[in-house]
């Protein structure tokens, strides 16, 4: 009969008692190793009543006995593990998987596939569903909060003359009624920085236009086109979807490389990186084209404006690159689409 030497702790004292362990007919038998032939019997427990720790390459096996005592059995040559297996002690599925490299490689492949599926399909679909089922009041509140922060720290009142603003707002309202009936929106004119050229869509349908954009564009049709693009973001709830997607990415990343501690760290970082995906921009562009079409306005002024902005971009200061053009490697592609529309 194979015996194994180890230590026994009674759970009441720190003393380590050297013991001899063996398994006989489904029972675990522990005797003192005091040099006598047989030793004193300390424990005799049915194997299904003891708990054996998971096997690790260089760690001893720990056996928790029903009475509160524990055994520490060194098992460098795995003979104790073999004896346990022969006696019918099953390893959990997780342990059996992790003991086999091929299974681990397959598991890794499955993880990568699942993450890919999640990132490209599951996450956008979930974020879309969530964004459209979010109560409108909640979304409006988020928008107001963001606008409040922007107003407090970065924005001034618009100095574009009131007739021009009213004219733009009226033309925008007409086109919006035609292309996005029933969609809540609010147009806000502001000035920021050293005449920053920008327009953005906040949650809850707030569309923000900076004076710099109105002045730099000159042509009203071009401004209308940019506003149509932003309304496209509003209609498709891009801003909320983007926030939800970044939160999803952050959560999964922290599951991978940290415990939950990563959540706290990654969420703000990801939130700060809010820029629309290529897909969202394309959708907004398509909407802008339909928006202009509904008012029989040519897309040419918008195209010319985009080109003009691009030409000027290298000379613009930091932080002045407009959001609707920036962060995308596919600007050429987008300009091509507009050019096709003009023809």
């Amino acid at each position: 009969m194979t015996t194994f030497s180890g230590f026994r702790f009674d759970g009441r004292h720190a003393e380590a008692v050297p013991v001899i362990v063996h398994i006989d007919e489904g029972e675990l038998i522990v005797k003192t190793a005091d040099g006598t032939v047989d030793g004193t019997l300390l424990d005799r427990d049915r194997l299904d009543r003891v708990v054996v720790s998971e096997p690790f390459d260089r760690a001893p096996r720990l056996v928790w006995l029903p009475g509160g005592a524990a055994l520490e059995v060194p098992d460098t040559n795995r003979s104790f593990a073999q004896q346990l297996r022969r006696s019918g002690v099953e390893l959990s599925l997780a342990v059996r998987l992790q003991q086999r490299w091929p299974a681990v490689i397959v598991a890794l492949a499955v993880i990568v596939a699942m993450l890919g599926l999640f990132y490209f399909k599951g996450l956008p679909a979930t974020a879309r569903w969530l964004a459209f089922s979010l109560p409108p009041r909640l979304e409006a509140r988020m928008g107001e909060q963001v606008l409040g922060v922007l107003d407090k720290h970065y924005m001034r009142r618009s100095s574009v003359d009131i007739e021009r603003r009213t004219r733009l707002a009226n033309r925008f309202a007409l086109a919006a009624a035609a292309t996005a009936p029933g969609v809540r929106y609010r147009l806000e004119f502001r000035a920021a920085g050293n005449d920053g050229i920008n327009a953005m869509a906040l949650p809850g349908g707030i569309i923000l236009v900076l004076d710099g954009l109105v002045r730099f564009a000159g042509d009203e049709d071009a401004v209308l086109g940019v506003l149509g693009h932003e309304l496209g973001h509003v209609v498709n709830k891009h801003s909320v979807r983007q926030v939800l997607q970044s939160v999803g990415v952050g959560t999964v990343a922290s599951l991978l490389w940290g415990d939950f501690s990563g959540v706290a760290a990654s969420v703000p970082v990801v939130l700060g990186m809010l820029s629309y995906s290529r897909e969202f921009e394309r959708e907004a562009d398509e909407f802008a084209i339909a928006f202009l079409r509904s008012q029989h306005v040519s897309a040419r002024p918008l195209y010319d404006f985009f080109v003009k902005v691009r030409r000027w971009q290298s000379r613009l200061e930091d932080g002045q690159v407009p959001d609707f053009l920036a962060t995308h490697p596919s600007t050429d592609e987008r300009l091509d689409r507009l050019r096709r529309e003009i023809r």
Binding site: A14, A16, R58, P60, V104, A107, Q145, W257, A265, S275
Partner: protein, 357 residues
């Protein structure tokens, strides 16, 4: 001695990950127990290993609480100031208790030679210790919600909490150590607030030096990049890159120094009866390990992570020395610790607390 190895931990990590993803995160509690067990069973002292007894269901419960609190904290200020204040108030009210319970859960579920560690948890002391820390921590957040960034009302609390940080850190460490228990013996801790300030001051000097160096380098690179006419790099992405690099630089340069020196201070002041502890951890080898970990993790797309974790744990654990006149086995022991719930353990995990063993 620490016998954990990357190749083995990698397999545990992958299987844990797979099961966690398949169960939509529920398995993460079991994964945590298996990881904690792996660490304990591979940590040797005097020929025996440590053991872990955490109950996954309790951890799962704790994690659910943590997710709710965290979601509240992240989103509340986005909705309204009232909701934000309510969350902060809840965190302040529950925080000390959760922190105490986290200590208790982690220690009471760790054993060595059949004896459990423990944590003397008294709500009064926990609140007295943790509340001032929480108040200083949240002051800038609350201030930022009500007044503009430029005013002194915002900057004073921020500045104060930065200045008080070593004091807060020391307060928490001292609280953790002096209430720790092994069997029926108490750990003691000799306060060392000034030493903490000294370490932080030197660490801060390193950060400033490093930041200046990094800023000059990155600035030069970007200036060159712009001149060469690379278009369409938005200012936002740039800010993000700057931010990420700064965090990385801090982690790589300052963290090893602070961790090494503070571990040294804390252990040399900790005592268990006649047992003294000594930490032989050095900033430079730690820096080398962190550099290698960060570099290889990035290059391998995160796959190196388990090896990184093992290398760091191994160095930190093997640097702790124990000096005792009496053999550990002669320590008489009291009976097992009382059962505790894990609500605090989960929450503390989410906010990144640990006892730094």
């Amino acid at each position: 001695m620490f016998t954990g190895r990357g190749s083995e931990y990698f397999r545990i990590w992958v299987v844990n990950l797979l099961l966690t993803l398949l169960t939509l995160g529920l398995y993460s509690a079991w994964a945590k127990v298996r990881k904690a067990t792996y660490f304990r069973h591979n940590t040797w002292l005097d020929g025996h290993v440590f053991d872990y007894h955490g109950n996954p269901v309790a951890i799962l419960r704790g994690r659910l609480v943590a997710v709710v609190l965290l979601t509240g904290y992240t989103w509340a200020f986005q909705f309204s100031n009232a909701a934000g204040l309510l969350t902060v108030a809840t965190l302040c009210a529950a925080g000390p208790w959760l922190f105490m319970r986290a200590q208790q859960f982690s220690l009471a579920n760790t054993s060595f030679r059949g004896l459990r560690f423990g944590f003397r948890a008294q709500a009064g002391e926990a609140y007295w210790t943790v509340l001032p820390v929480l108040a200083l921590w949240f002051a800038p957040v609350v201030g930022g919600a009500f007044v503009s960034v430029e005013t002194w009302v915002y900057w004073t609390p921020t500045f104060a909490s930065v200045l008080a940080w070593p004091w807060m850190h020391h307060r928490l460490k001292a609280y953790q150590r002096r209430n720790a228990v092994y069997g029926d013996r108490d750990f003691t801790f000799t306060p060392a607030t000034l030493r903490f300030y000294g370490v932080y001051a030197k660490g801060f000097a390193f950060v400033v030096l490093g930041a200046i160096l990094a800023a000059v380098t990155i600035g030069a690179v970007f200036a060159w990049w712009h001149r060469s006419g690379a278009l369409l790099i938005s200012s936002r992405i740039e800010t993000w890159i700057y931010g990420a690099l700064a965090v990385l630089a801090f982690y790589v340069v300052a963290w090893p120094y602070l961790a090494a020196r503070l571990q040294h201070v804390v252990w040399s002041r900790t005592r268990l009866c006649d047992i003294h502890f000594r930490s032989e951890i050095k900033a430079r080898p730690l820096l080398r390990i962190v550099l290698k970990n960060v570099g290889l993790s990035i290059l391998s797309g995160g796959v190196y992570w388990p090896w990184a974790t093992m290398a760091l744990a191994r160095y930190r654990i093997e640097c702790i020395r124990i000096e005792s006149g009496v053999p550990l086995s002669t320590l008489a022991a009291s009976l097992a610790a009382q059962p505790v719930t894990a609500a605090g353990e989960g929450a503390a995990d989410a906010f990144g607390f640990d006892i730094g063993l």
